[in-house]
Symmetry: C2
Subunit: 236 residues, 2 copies
DNA sequence: GGTAGCGAGTTGTTCAACAATCCGACAAGG
DNA sequence: CCTTGTCGGATTGTTGAACAACTCGCTACC
């Protein structure tokens, strides 16, 4: 049980790694989870607009699952704040208000700048993940695919958060970015919302590569402040 | 829609406050949520030990709810990481390992020290919430009620997090503390685990009251480091 | 004009059934 | 003795139907 030192078998079994990989394949997700995945994707893609009501009957028929299973999926997304559930009235795609946007940026600032400050030395791979997200954003911008620019931009911020090396922080950040998508769709008019930030991201990455964490944290803080203001302006 | 200035009605309606209170009573929560609340309480109380299997049939019979409703409650708690769900095998009370404890403290450090640094000026009420938690811990310690000391200690850290003024950060912190309870129960032997920290909390509160945020953040950081190490030692 | 009540439609919850899967037991074979 | 194949009971996954509880728009009435 303690240290894995069985006598006749080498410690580094070649197939014990396979086991870990196959587990994710074998571990079939439940129907409710797959339904939740589909709905989540539709929401962050903007196919399901904020405020849309999801009736159990029609949604269940459309997805080919029973009401009970669908309700389980709804619960998951309500917990992620992508749907709101009003008792005896149904579930709706969440509509963010100004307070929500403010709080989302507040929490992001906490996580992202904290992650930068907590990263004493930055491994090469994590820096690579950051710059990779930036170049993806640049390429998408060159093709004027603004939705993809937004996606790449999110990936940049998730890579920043990953500097903390915390699975829980990563998951929290993932939920926050999903929630933010709701706000982006609310301000559908400005497709070029993300563009000006690519250069700022590049600069932050350079500061990180130079090891100037404090400057990077400050730059990110400024970034978030202006982005928040811009998003709030679009709400009025 | 904008500012609430309806002409013929005074802004501060006396019954508008009643509305907010009654809402929590009228807005009956769903059965699944109440079941989840009960299970959550049992878990953080330690009545349901980590590793315990919760069979749908017996648990449903014990709580007097149907299997479907119970499954909805399970989903919620799985999402909160208090239960783990293994496909076709059932749900179990989560068993934390050393990595989990490390990550929990990492995330807490991010949130709590970040909240302190983000708090430019501390409102009186928030400082009061912090000191109130400390005195509660002291009183519980005087009565040697160590479980209550732990609860009050959690409330102290939640009050620290509340300095950020972010509902989302508060909710995240609440989940993290609930998850940490699982670790405390794993180290059931040391009931006096919480006691030495009361004085440290008091010192942090003093630093906050003096407005020395940086020193408070550093003290809290040290606190978390030693607490983490002590908990990890108890795991071996 | 306001209001009380009706009724259709939706959600909340339970129940029963069946398919898919896990787990322990037991037997056969090396 | 250990491994492997097989079987059957028990549990979970998912569905569909049923009924209670509730919301909301409509209508009739004062």
């Amino acid at each position: 049980m303690g240290s894995p030192s069985t006598p006749d078998q080498a410690d580094a079994d070649p197939w014990s790694d396979l086991l870990a990989d196959n587990r994710s394949v074998l571990d079939r997700t439940s129907t409710a989870e797959r339904v939740a995945d589909a709905l989540r994707q539709w929401i962050i893609d903007g196919r399901l607009r904020p405020g849309t009501r999801l009736s159990e009957h029609s949604a269940g028929k459309a997805l080919g699952v029973s009401r009970n299973t669908l309700r389980e999926a709804f619960r998951l997304l309500v917990h992620e704040r992508l749907l709101v559930h009003e008792f005896h009235r149904g579930v709706f795609v969440r509509v963010l208000d100004a307070d929500d946007v403010t709080d989302l940026y507040r929490t992001r600032r906490l996580l992202e700048t904290g992650a930068i400050r907590a990263a004493s030395d930055i491994p090469q791979e994590r820096l690579a993940a950051i710059t990779s997200a930036i170049t993806a954003a640049e390429e998408a911008a060159a093709k004027e695919r603004w939705l993809d620019v937004g996606t790449a931009n999110m990936r940049f911020h998730q890579a920043i958060t990953a500097l903390a090396g915390s699975p829980r922080a990563d998951e929290i950040m993932q939920q926050l970015t999903a929630e933010l998508r709701l706000a982006f769709h609310a301000t559908s008019a400005l497709r070029r919302f993300h563009e000006p930030y690519i250069e700022l991201n590049r600069r932050i990455a350079r500061l990180l590569a130079d090891g100037d964490l404090d400057a990077a944290a400050h730059a990110l803080d400024d970034y978030l402040t202006t982005a928040q203001r811009q998003l709030l302006d679009a709400f009025a």
